[in-house]
């Protein structure tokens, strides 16, 4: 099968859906003439023209509002945030308008819009350019949150979000994954939201992760394999709706769960998973559910501080060994 980069997978998803449906358009900072700050939309202006690939001024609140209004009035916008850090300026429109339209209007007005962009840390970018927002948005009723880890999933999920989702979708990418290559078939496919993917089968412990932290999870599992520990690794892919059934089925087999994520710890995705699994699978657990998250702090710039602030393989391996204590 051919391999393409993550950014190309995203571009194909958008372009295919735009070819199919006139109502779909892409809007954001530097998406058109500059071909995208991270080159995701490269060539799209040339193909679709300025009516449908639209550069905006730096005005996140304004252009998000335009997207939300357009979605209420028959269009299917894709709004790119250069990164999700800047979407905070537009949170009012996302939280107070987009997520609540259907409820407030008694089901009359929906908001089929996809917001997408890089999310989380990307090296030493300092406090204001490093936040991972999945848990913040997942907390909001009315919106869906997707956070893929590889080009194949990214394409299928983005196509699904653009074409079939009638609710606002927050699509969280990663600047450091845009260049990652992966197998993506030529033939068209869609991946339904809300389905986790078991990336590696295992017996002894379940590791759940998503987005770029999947690399940490898989590398940790590989390390552990060498030491005779068989870890099952689950990629959530969609954060909300959360596919906890897949996690539960795995925990029934392994009886142990470790979650690796880039969120801040308080009220994070791991908090939610932990609640659900202890409730639905209490009798299956042989050890407390453990997690490794970002440090409970803004991310600092210095290389040692930045590295310590996010999960890594060594600390994940150690945590897994901690939950394996009953077998040692």
């Amino acid at each position: 099968m051919r391999t393409i980069a993550f950014r190309e997978a995203l571009r194909e998803a958008m372009s295919e859906e735009m070819r199919r449906d006139e109502r779909v358009f892409l809007m954001g900072e530097e998406v058109a003439e500059y071909n995208g700050a991270y080159k995701v939309s490269q060539g799209m202006l040339a193909e679709f023209g300025p009516k449908r690939v639209i550069d905006t001024p730096i005005a996140e609140l304004g252009f998000t509002a335009v997207g939300v209004g357009a979605a209420q009035n028959g269009l299917r916008p894709i709004v790119e945030f250069m990164t999700w850090n800047f979407a905070v300026l537009a949170l009012d429109q996302i939280l107070n308008t987009a997520s609540k339209m259907l409820a407030m209007s008694g089901g009359q007005i929906s908001c089929p819009i996809v917001f997408r962009g890089g999310n989380g840390s990307a090296g030493q970018l300092g406090a204001q350019h490093s936040t991972a927002f999945e848990s913040l948005y997942a907390n909001i009723p009315g919106i869906k949150v997707v956070s893929p880890s590889n080009p194949y999933d990214a394409k299928g999920l983005l196509k699904q979000a653009i074409r079939y989702e009638e609710d606002p979708v927050m699509f969280m990418e990663s600047e450091v994954l845009y260049g990652e290559k992966g197998e993506v078939p030529e033939d068209e496919y869609y991946i339904p939201l809300g389905k986790a993917d078991v990336k590696k089968q295992g017996r002894d412990v379940t590791i759940v992760s998503f987005n770029k932290m999947m690399k940490v999870a898989l590398s940790a599992a590989a390390e552990l394999e060498k030491e005779g520990v068989s870890a099952e690794v689950i990629d959530l892919r969609t954060i909300k709706p959360l596919d906890w059934h897949t996690i539960l089925e795995s925990v029934k087999k392994t009886n142990r769960l470790v979650i690796v994520e880039e969120q801040w710890p308080f009220a994070s995705i791991s908090s939610e998973i932990t609640y659900r699994i202890q409730k639905e699978g209490f009798d299956y657990l042989d050890a407390p559910i453990r997690r490794i998250t970002s440090a409970d702090a803004p991310m600092h710039y210095a290389p040692n501080l930045a590295a310590l602030a996010i999960p890594d393989v060594a600390r994940t391996v150690k945590l897994v060994k901690d939950v394996m204590y009953t077998k040692k």
């Binding site: 003439e33 500059y34 550069d55 730096i58 609140l61 300092g126 702090a297 040692n304």
Partner: protein, 331 residues
């Protein structure tokens, strides 16, 4: 022909602008060649006359606040070059203990309030600094800098309205270098003269040649005087140009080499140098000595940064709360 400004002023301008430029060029080298600096890095090269003119038109106690293109502003306000270079390296001796990096220089002892990464945010925060000066009854005036791209954020309008309503002591300075990343000013609005945005609030406004230290000084001095006397805010649009890309990774396909050369031919440092020599304020040998001194300062800053320690690992959870009783969520 007698000049309006003194010999001392010209020599100060020359030295400051050379310090900023040489510091930036060295830092860029340490980024690209040596990989010692990481993250986003936005150079101030080309825009130095604005720093020079603003410094001579203000007092040390006047707070300054800007965006991520901030190295020149810290240096101008008096942050030691050693602390600036160490910050770029991420060392404990940096002006933010290595926690901020290029985009987040801070030095409150020199009345420099940073170093902000969210485009336009400092327009509002700067307005708050000015509110506090008025509230405390000081004589200080805030200088609040932002780019042409930032001028399109909604916060500008709310801030302008509040500042005019309360006649806050602030000078808003838009450093219009004609590009926000790859987007030229005329692609961002129907109103391409940014100073006209003040009109809706009946705020005094000015458009100034930001490549000429004298013009910057005059325009800022007028606005600062008005603000100090209780006359409220002013918007100044400085026409300037960045010689370098938006950040280190910018391929700059949106502008031509000729355009860049055209602006370089109006170089603010060369203009001041010319005036100094023409008026015999200094000899070429004197200027060479200044250049050599600056080269030494910049070299020393690299040495200092190299030899400084990294922040202690425990700093990950420090400077998060003032409240030391907080227990962090560690697994």
């Amino acid at each position: 022909m007698p000049t309006k400004f003194s010999k001392e002023t010209y020599l100060y301008w020359y030295e400051l602008m050379q310090l900023i430029r040489q510091f930036e060029l060295k830092a860029e080298e340490m980024y690209k060649m040596a990989g010692k600096i990481r993250g986003f890095f936005h150079a101030y090269v080309g825009q130095e006359a604005i720093a020079a003119g603003c410094m001579t038109a203000t007092q040390h106690e006047d707070p300054f606040i800007t965006g991520y293109r901030d190295h020149g502003w810290a240096l101008a306000k008096g942050t030691p070059p050693n602390a600036c270079m160490a910050e770029l390296y991420g060392k404990a001796t940096g002006c933010a203990k290595g926690k901020g990096g290029s985009m987040h220089f801070f030095d409150v002892s020199n009345h420099f309030y940073g170093g902000h990464g969210i485009v336009g945010a400092q327009i509002g925060t700067g307005t708050g600094l000015a509110f506090a000066e008025q509230y405390k009854g000081t004589n200080n005036v805030v200088l609040c800098f932002f780019g042409d791209g930032a001028a399109r954020q909604g916060i500008l309008h709310e801030s302008f309205n509040l500042a005019m309503l309360w006649k806050l002591p602030i000078v808003y300075i838009c450093e219009n270098n004609n590009y926000a990343m790859g987007t030229s000013v005329e692609r961002t609005s129907n109103v391409i003269d940014i100073y006209k945005l003040a009109d809706a609030y009946e705020m005094p406004a000015d458009m100034i040649d930001g490549m000429t230290a004298e013009a910057v000084h005059d325009g800022v001095a007028r606005a600062v005087k008005r603000a100090r006397e209780g006359g409220g805010p002013t918007l100044i649009e400085m026409k300037t140009y960045r010689y370098k890309g938006h950040s280190i990774s910018d391929p700059q396909k949106y502008r031509s080499k000729e355009e860049v050369e055209e602006y370089k031919s109006q170089d603010p440092i060369q203009k001041v140098l010319h005036t100094i020599l023409e008026n015999n304020f200094a000899t070429q040998a004197d200027l060479d000595a200044i250049d050599a001194k600056i080269a030494g300062i910049v070299e020393e800053s690299v040495k200092f940064a190299e030899e400084s320690p990294w922040p202690d690992d425990s700093e990950v959870l420090k400077d998060v709360y003032v409240d030391q009783t907080i227990v962090f969520d560690e697994d």
